[in-house]
Structure formats: C-alpha cells, structure tokens
C-alpha cells in the first residue's frame, strides 16, 4: 500500500483531516499555557531573597555556602539530544509514509531513546538541585524553575509514552502508510515539546 492510498477526499468543512486540525489546535493552546509559565519565570527572575541562585554563589546568614546551581554542559547535551530526536522522528515519519518498516522502527526507537535520556537528565538535575539545597519552596527561583521545567518534563514523558505505543504498533505491523497520520500527530506533539525547549534553554539557563 502506498502513501497515496489515503488520498481520498475527506468530507470535512475544511477538507482537512479533523485529527490533524485537532492536534494543531491543541498545540496552539499549549503555546499559551507555556507562555504563562515562561512569564511566571521571567517576572520572578532575580527577585529571590535567599539562595541558592542559578548563576551566582551565595552564603547564608548562618555561614552556609551555596555554589551556582546550573550545570550548563549537561543541559546542553540534553538540548542537543532533544533536537536530534526531532530529526529522528521526521525520518521515522518519512519511513512510515513510504512503507519502509525498518526505517520507521529504527528511527522511532532512536527518538524514544533520546526522549528517555532527556527525561533522565531532568530527573538527575532535579535530584542534584535538591541535594544542593534548592527545593520547590526554597525561593522564587526554585518555585518558578521547577514549575516551568517540570511541566515541560511531563510533556516529554507523555511524548515518550505516546511514541512507545506507536513503536509497539510498528513492531506488530499495525502502522502501515495508510495509518501514518497516527505517527504524524505524535510527531507534531514531539516537535512542539522540542520548540518549547528551544525557548526555555536560553531563557532559563543562558540568560543571566
């Protein structure tokens, strides 16, 4: 079966597949959701009364010393892998649309692996920060940072689960070209998660 097999006219008012319109509408609403979280981070930026701080060392009145909290090299690696995962998922989609099952399964597995690494990186980062004294209620930075990156991490985890179900479908031969829209929707969601990180990475980690 070729990708042309599902070229039949769709009887919708837009002539477009409703599911694809739905996922784009959802992504549009998510833009505003993340805008509020990014705004929350930015308006509270630099207003914490106590440390630890993201880029500066801090000594508490009791004499306890806190180093700057961010680990830029680790996050850069996570960012690069998330970008690569976007490449891998379009290659998987291309494979699905051409009926190339080997490419579909391989690239989708690579995408999932990158997603798992990124989620693992965030779990490690959060644990590391807590051990270094930054809890959710420690200061304004901690609250806004964990809220923003935590929601993004949750989106990554949901994306990994979604892509994993499709990977199992692909393994069982249940993702033929005619059903490639199922993967296209997940891929659009995954790219959105990536573009949100493209904003979060410089705004949170690089801009002082």
């Amino acid at each position: 079966m070729t990708a042309h097999a599902h070229a039949a006219h769709l009887e919708t008012s837009t002539g477009l597949d409703n599911r694809k319109v739905a996922i784009w509408t959802f992504i549009g609403s998510e833009c505003m959701f993340f805008a509020t979280l990014i705004s929350n981070y930015l308006v509270n930026k630099g207003k914490s009364l106590v440390g630890p701080f993201p880029h500066e060392a801090w000594t508490s009145p009791t004499g306890q010393h806190f180093e700057p909290i961010f680990e830029i090299p680790l996050v850069t690696l996570g960012t690069a892998l998330l970008l690569f995962s976007s490449l891998f998922v379009v290659l998987a989609l291309s494979g699905a649309q051409r009926g190339n099952r080997k490419a579909l399964i391989g690239w989708l597995a690579a995408t999932i692996a990158c997603g798992i690494f990124f989620a693992g990186m965030q779990v490690y980062e959060f644990t590391h920060f807590v051990h270094r004294g930054l809890g959710f209620t420690t200061n304004l930075f901690g609250s806004s940072f964990y809220t923003l990156t935590g929601f993004h991490g949750t989106h990554v985890a949901i994306g990994v689960l979604w892509l994993s179900t499709l990977w199992i479908d692909a393994l069982r031969g249940k993702l033929p070209p005619a059903r490639s829209l199922n993967l296209e929707m997940a891929a659009l969601y995954w790219h959105f998660v990536d573009v949100v990180w493209i904003i979060i990475f410089p705004v949170v980690y690089l801009i002082k």
């Binding site: 784009w24 880029h55 690069a80 970008l83 490639s180 790219h191 801009i207």
Partner: protein, 118 residues
C-alpha cells in the same frame, strides 16, 4: 527520496531526508553558537570580548532561538508545505503568547518601578 503524503484534499510533498539532515545540522550549529556565545560572554572562557558582547548577548540569543524555532516549525512540522490553516492555528496563539509574556514583564517592571518610587 521524496515522500508524497496527503492531508485531506490537499496533496503535499514533504521535504527529502537529506533536507531533514541539513536542517538538523543547522539546528546543531545554532545550539553550539548559543552555548559558545554564553561561554565567551559569561562562562569560564570569557575574555576581552565579554564586555563588548554583554549588551548584545540577550538579543543575539533570542535571534538564534527564533531561527531554531522557525526551522523546526517550517521543515519538521511541515508548516511550509501543509495547509495555511495549520499555520494560522499555530501562529495566532503564538502571537497571543508573545503578547502575554511582554505584557507581564512590562507590568511587573512598572509595578516595581512604581513601588520603589514610592
């Protein structure tokens, strides 16, 4: 290696795998530039150029992020080839989102300036 796919009544040609790889390479280079810019401005490798770069740091970083965002949206999310309706459904909330961020920053800045002045 073109893959023709259809979306409803409209038929589109998605980019080739080689174009996907080229976009991926550009995204990687732009990310390296972001981190490089941070390193030579504020990081361990900050040198004599740091003072010159500091005023340009935020605008440059936002420009690089915007370029990455646009590349992913246009080529990986296929907005360049797909129906313009999808572009509208995505870009309109994006404009509102940008407005929300700018408005809240201005509001907070005004609030703090007002609070300080008495």
């Amino acid at each position: 290696m073109d893959s023709h796919v259809t979306t409803g009544t409209q038929e589109h040609t998605h980019p080739t795998a080689s174009l996907y790889f080229k976009v991926g390479l550009v995204l990687f280079v732009l990310t390296a530039l972001e981190v490089g810019l941070y390193e030579i401005t504020y990081g361990d490798h900050a040198g004599s150029m740091a003072s010159t770069l500091k005023p340009l740091f935020v605008p440059l970083l936002l420009l690089l992020s915007a370029a990455k965002f646009a590349l992913v949206a246009m080529f990986y999310m296929h907005l360049k080839q797909d129906s313009k309706l999808f572009t509208g459904v995505f870009v309109f909330p994006l404009i509102i989102a940008a407005f929300i961020i700018v408005a809240l920053i201005i509001l907070q800045a005004y609030h703090f300036a007002f609070a300080r002045s008495g």
